[in-house]
Symmetry: C2
Subunit: 226 residues, 2 copies
DNA sequence: GTATCTTTCAAACGTTCGTTTAACTTCATG
DNA sequence: CATGAAGTTAAACGAACGTTTGAAAGATAC
């Protein structure tokens, strides 16, 4: 285990800062979250953010890296194992989609990996305008996205690579929006409060997987029309 | 025509402020955009934002309202006309999806309705954390979303209403992410620069429609498994 | 116990923020 | 021309921002 993933309550100051920042960045976004809010919630001195993470930008990167490193390593392990077992044969699209998006959604049901908090933060972070965030995400995702794009191309040999890339983009957008759970349009008004977070996540996963696979395997758009 | 939609270059100060704010909010987000940046780009005095729009929040709402009022009115007109012509028969799902999402994408190809700038701003705005933005969007979308949800339920009588709502949510997420064009993961690296904005928008529309319809008509997830 | 390194702390740094004020200009109307 | 509303302006307001500082406190090794 490289870095600690849990927040058992009596952690060091740096972990408490990461936990507080994760929640506040998720709730208010990067710009609207001040270092004073973070240090107050983490019960540390104002200077602690700069002492441990250098700057507010460094804190944001540390918050994302703590979970993303684990997530993308898991994604690569699953794909590696499946491709090794398949001995060069193409994988099923449903398996590839489940490894990439299902791993993220199952992560949200486990509190020791940040639970829903990190899920919602990550979904929102994909549309954060700050340049350093885009750069950071691109470097964190570079390997895993290329691997999954290649796997999808082998799994769907009749679909042009350009189309695969676009549909990966669409799947990412649907997932990012679904896990943020902001629901600014209040489309989802019937949250069952009696259900625990595991059941909710499982139902969302099943629904999202059906949608993503339906979109991924949809007939190609005709290039010339209208 | 209620309010002017174009920016011919020699408009009044309030229109110049809206144009500048639309571009800056799109590029940097709401929080990272200051009233000083807006007034500098619009070539007006610093106090003009408060004079014309009351506050920075009022400016943001005016920026969104200028385009959203037109967009959602158009969406309702198209649905009204089609339902009148159908005389109570359910509409084709592809038609409903095209009216809702296609109208938005076609809007982006026309400079007089804000073009890509408003499209990208709107996609990003759906995930803005500020509470007043969620409230504003909810009120702007309330009517049109309810009408389209009902139309989809009639068009797909075998799909439970709850499932329709979720898939509408997924479609919205895929579309919002696609039109922001932020591409923080640099998935889309092969933008054809020689193609004009109309051709790009048309290709995106065709691709997105295939994906959305594939997801909307996907087989339902089995409720009990694993 | 002394020396050395790490961590914590209150206080302040300079800058930028959204907003307000009051004086000034513009300009159509009587 | 006189009047008053509408628009514009420079200047300033208090508050909050990210970051830095230097000293105090704590921990570790000899």
């Amino acid at each position: 285990m490289g870095q600690p993933l849990s927040s058992s309550g009596n952690d060091g100051p740096d972990i408490r800062i990461l936990d507080a920042a994760e929640r506040l960045f998720m709730e208010h976004g990067y710009e609207a979250t001040s270092t004073r809010m973070v240090t107050r919630d983490a019960a540390v001195n104002l200077a602690a953010v700069n002492y441990y993470f250098g700057s507010k930008e460094g804190l944001m990167q540390a918050v994302l890296r703590r979970r993303l490193d684990w997530l993308n390593r898991e994604r690569l392990h699953l794909l590696d194992a499946a491709e090794t077992e398949a001995r060069g044969a193409p994988l099923k699209p449903s398996l590839i989609v489940d490894y990439f998006f299902g791993t993220l959604l199952r992560m949200g049901a486990r509190p020791e990996t940040g639970g829903q908090t990190f899920q919602r933060l990550l979904g929102r972070t994909h549309t954060e305008p700050a340049a350093f965030i885009s750069t950071f995400l691109a470097s964190e995702y570079a390997d895993v996205v290329n691997r999954y794009k290649s796997a999808l191309c082998r799994a769907l040999p009749d679909v042009p690579r350009e189309e695969i890339v676009w549909r990966f983009h669409f799947m990412l957008g649907a997932t990012a929006y679904a896990i943020t759970g902001t629901d600014s349009l209040q489309l989802i008004t019937d949250w069952k409060m009696e259900e625990d977070v595991q059941v909710q996540a499982q139902k969302l996963l099943a629904r999202l997987m059906s949608f993503l696979l339906g979109g991924l395997r949809a007939p190609l758009p005709q290039s010339r029309s209208a």
